[in-house]
C-alpha cells in the first residue's frame, strides 16, 4: 500500500493559474523521494496539498489509505500531527529558545510535561544540537536553525516528513549536513518527500526523482539524477 497517493489530482488557484494537471503519484512507506523542477512547476503545491494548507480542485489524495480531500476542517489538525514539515525559511519563533521551539510542537498538541522533557532532548541529540538547547534562533547559523526546524517536525515521530526546499538558504556544507540528517530520519522508517532544485544534492543522493514541469509529471525515476 502506498503511504502517499495522488489520483488524477488537479489544482487551479483562484487567479486561474493551473498548478497541477491530472497528477498520479504513489509513494511507498519508507521511501525517500525528490520532487524536482523549475519554480512554478508545482512542487510546493504538492506539499501544500498534503498538509491541507490548500484544497484540491479535482482528484483525490490518499495518506495511509485514507482520502484526505474530504477531511472535515476539524480533522485537519490530526492530519498535520502525522506529517512533519520543514520549510526553506525555517519558521522558528524568534522569541523562544531552541528547546522551547521544539517543545512548542508537543505543547500545542497537548502532550504532558514529562513527555516533553524526555522527547525534546532526544530529538535535539538526533539533530546534533543538544548543547544549544538554551540558545535563541538568532544565535544559531542558518544550518543549525534548519536542524532545529527538522527537530520540531520530527519530535512527534510522524510517519511522513515533507521538506520544501530545506536547503534553499544554506551553503553546500550545511546542505550536506541537512541531507545526512534527512537520510537518517528516512532510515528509521519515515517516508520523506523533499522538493528541491538543488542539482548537486539530487545527483549525489541517487534516490527516486519525480520531475515536474508546468504541473505535469514528466519523469519518475528510481535512483535518478536531477536533469535528464
Amino acid at each position: 500500500m502506498n503511504m502517499i497517493e495522488f489520483r488524477n489530482v488537479s489544482k487551479v488557484y483562484e487567479d486561474k493559474t493551473v498548478a497541477l494537471r491530472n497528477i498520479n503519484i504513489g509513494i511507498k512507506k519508507g521511501e525517500f523521494v525528490f520532487l524536482v523542477g523549475p519554480s512554478g512547476s508545482g512542487k510546493s503545491t504538492i506539499i501544500k496539498l498534503l498538509i491541507r494548507e490548500i484544497p484540491v480542485t479535482s482528484g483525490s489524495i490518499f495518506i495511509a489509505g485514507r482520502n484526505v480531500c474530504n477531511l472535515k476542517y476539524s480533522r485537519v489538525p490530526q492530519l498535520r500531527r502525522n506529517i512533519g514539515s520543514v520549510f526553506q525559511d525555517f519558521k522558528l519563533l524568534p522569541n523562544k529558545t531552541v528547546f522551547e521551539n521544539v517543545a512548542f510542537a508537543l505543547e500545542v498538541i497537548g502532550r504532558p510535561g514529562y513527555v516533553i522533557k524526555l522527547q525534546v532532548p532526544q530529538v535535539l541529540k538526533l539533530v546534533g544540537l543538544e548543547h544549544k538547547m538554551k540558545s535563541y534562533p538568532h544565535q544559531l547559523s542558518a544550518g543549525e536553525q534548519q536542524r532545529v526546524s527538522i527537530a520540531r517536525a520530527f519530535v512527534n515521530r510522524p510517519p511522513i516528513l515533507l521538506a520544501d526546499e530545506p536547503t534553499g538558504n544554506l551553503d553546500p556544507v550545511n546542505s550536506e549536513g541537512i541531507m545526512k540528517l534527512l537520510s537518517r530520519i528516512n532510515l528509521i522508517g519515515t517516508t520523506v518527500a523533499m522538493a528541491t532544485h538543488d542539482r548537486n544534492i539530487v545527483n549525489s543522493m541517487r534516490r527516486r526523482v519525480i520531475e515536474l514541469e508546468e504541473g505535469e509529471v514528466i519523469r519518475d525515476q528510481k535512483r535518478g539524477v536531477y536533469g535528464s
Binding site: R81, L92, L93, V108
Partner: protein
C-alpha cells in the same frame, strides 16, 4: 480538546511579557477611549439629572385678587385638583405668604418697609408633566386674553420654561449621538490595536497550525489576552473617572447649586447610577477586548 489551564495562562502571560509594548498600547487605548466614553456618559447623566430636577421644580403660581370670595377659592381648588396633569395643589393664604416672605428675607432691610400685608393669596400647582405648564397656565385666561375673575396673575416662568424644555430635548439627542459616536470610535480603535498585536504574532499562529494545533488551542490564549487587556484598560479608565467625578464634578456641581440657588439638585456622588456606569464600562471593556480578539483572529487562523 483537553483544557490545560497551566498552558493557556502560561502562554497568555508569557505573551504579555514578550509583547509588552503591544500589550501596553492595547491597555492604554482601552483606558483612554473608554475614559472618553465614560466621561461623556457621566457629564450627560449629570446634566440630565440637573435639568430634570430643574424641570420638576417648574410650577404654576396662581395669584388671587384680595377680593376673591371663599366660594371662588374652594371652586378653583376643586377644579385644579380635577386636572389630570396636576400632581399637587397647595393653597397659600395671605398670612402664610407673608410669613414665608419674612423667613426668606430674615434680617433684611426690606422687612421694615412692609406695612400691613401686601402679599396676595395663591395656589401653587405642581405638575405631573412639567412640559404641559403652558397649557395649564392658559386655562386661567378668558377668550379676550384677560385673567378670569378673581385671578390677579399667573406666573410660570414664561420666558425660560419653554427654552429650558427645548434645550433639554436637543441636548439629550445630541448627547446620545455623541456617546454612540465615541463608543464606535472606541470599538474601532481597540479592535485595530488588538488586530495589530495579533498580526505581530501571525508567525506564531502559523507555526501552531503547522504542527497540528486545533483552532481552539490557538485561539484561547489570544482570547484571554484580549479579555485581560479590555478589563485592565477599562479598570484604569474607571479609576480615572472616579477621581475625576469625585474631585472635579461634585465641586463644580456645588458651585452650580450655589449660583443657581436650585434646591434638591441631584448630586452625582449620592447616586447609584454612577456605580452602574462604572460596572458597565468594565463589562464593556472585557467584552470589546474578547470580541476584538475573536474577530481579528479569524483572518489568521484559517491556514
Amino acid at each position: 480538546m483537553i483544557f490545560r489551564p497551566k498552558y493557556f495562562f502560561g502562554e497568555t502571560f508569557s505573551g504579555l511579557r514578550r509583547n509588552f509594548l503591544m500589550f501596553f498600547t492595547a491597555i492604554s487605548t482601552v483606558a483612554i477611549t473608554l475614559f472618553m466614553v465614560g466621561f461623556f456618559l457621566i457629564i450627560v447623566y449629570d446634566v440630565q439629572a440637573i435639568l430634570a430636577s430643574v424641570k420638576s421644580q417648574v410650577e404654576v403660581a396662581v395669584y388671587l385678587k384680595d377680593n376673591a370670595t371663599q366660594e371662588f377659592k374652594d371652586y378653583l381648588e376643586q377644579e385644579i385638583k380635577s386636572w389630570e396633569e396636576v400632581s399637587e395643589v397647595v393653597f397659600v393664604s395671605k398670612e402664610q405668604a407673608l410669613e414665608k416672605f419674612k423667613r426668606d428675607n430674615e434680617g433684611s432691610e426690606i422687612l421694615k418697609e412692609i406695612q400691613g400685608n401686601p402679599l396676595p393669596a395663591s395656589f401653587e400647582i405642581k405638575l405631573q408633566s412639567p412640559e404641559k405648564v403652558e397649557q395649564i397656565a392658559l386655562r386661567f385666561l378668558t377668550k379676550d386674553g384677560t385673567y378670569i375673575d378673581g385671578v390677579d396673575e399667573v406666573i410660570y416662568g414664561q420666558n425660560y420654561v419653554q427654552k429650558l424644555f427645548s434645550i433639554t430635548a436637543i441636548a439629550g439627542s445630541i448627547a446620545f449621538l455623541i456617546i454612540i459616536m465615541l463608543l464606535l470610535a472606541a470599538i474601532v480603535l481597540i479592535y485595530n490595536t488588538i488586530r495589530l498585536s495579533i498580526h505581530a504574532r501571525r508567525k506564531e499562529i502559523e507555526v501552531m497550525k503547522l504542527v497540528g494545533a486545533t483552532n481552539w488551542f490557538v485561539r484561547i490564549p489570544f482570547l484571554f489576552e484580549g479579555f485581560f487587556e479590555g478589563v485592565a484598560g477599562s479598570s484604569i479608565s474607571v479609576i480615572m473617572l472616579f477621581f475625576m467625578s469625585n474631585y472635579l464634578l461634585i465641586r463644580g456641581e456645588k458651585a452650580i447649586i450655589d449660583t443657581l440657588r436650585v434646591k434638591e439638585l441631584a448630586i452625582l456622588g449620592s447616586s447609584n447610577v454612577i456605580l452602574y456606569i462604572y460596572a458597565g464600562i468594565i463589562v464593556l471593556g472585557g467584552l470589546i477586548g474578547l470580541l476584538s480578539s475573536s474577530f481579528a483572529l479569524k483572518r489568521y487562523i484559517r491556514v
